[in-house]
Subunit: 140 residues, 2 copies
Amino acid sequence: MDEQILKKAGLKATPRRKEMLRILLNGGCPLTAEEVYHAFSEKQSCNLSTVYRALNTMAERRLLQKNIHRDGRVYYQLNLEHHSHQLVCERCHESVPIDLCPLEQLERDLRENTGYRITGHQFEISGVCPRCAEKEREKK
Amino acid sequence: MDEQILKKAGLKATPRRKEMLRILLNGGCPLTAEEVYHAFSEKQSCNLSTVYRALNTMAERRLLQKNIHRDGRVYYQLNLEHHSHQLVCERCHESVPIDLCPLEQLERDLRENTGYRITGHQFEISGVCPRCAEKEREKK
DNA sequence: GTTAGTGCAAACTCTTTGCAGCACT
DNA sequence: AGTGCTGCAAAGAGTTTGCACTAAC
């Protein structure tokens, strides 16, 4: 299954790449290269450079979305039917997907007003999740 | 004038900081620490670490907005009356401010649905500006 | 006089690259 | 067999930190 996805993108279906796709699928939220790296088992380990390289090539071939978050790290996620954005907890980095993307209309307006060819957008809303807010209250 | 802004924020009004505010004001668009550093004249130079430190403390005190762009670099801008977002050219990094921010309504919805306390958001739209698109056409 | 700001050098984090060897097709 | 993938080590970019000195209040 992952096999076909990779081949269709012109990439070789190696065990490591299939595992990375599986990890991203199970993760359910965007992961950093480091997190993907650590999710490999002892049996099938993978070098960190390889993780970076594979994630980047898969992102180039549109298998993954690559986004930078406010913590300065790059996060990867499967590029499913339509893209998604996240609400991220500042404290624990848990994230909640945001279903609707309010930017399509804005992009149309911008194209007309500025002459730019719009190639993409990214947004992220940050906050503090109820659990972390609770912990914070306990401390005080 | 910058003097009062700094003091009101509990910071000392040093020549370097006043100059940084001036540079950001003249720039008219978000600048990286490196760009601010290079904008200093030979007469009044400033160490790069000092630029980083000063920009970060001014951002902590809400004098500046600090945002990370898709190129992985941190950009600083004056925190004027209401915040702004940018449409950034992928090629030359020229940026156009976006007046209206479509996220306020979304944030209200999210607060209700997720229980998160929303602390901020960031978004950036990328594209190719007409000038760079033109140059690209010439090359081909 | 105190406290906060600055310069310099070194360290740190995340990410990329060169090269030799290995594995998928 | 050939091209693309991988591991390892080293380098690179951007940013932060420790410490001694200086300047603003």
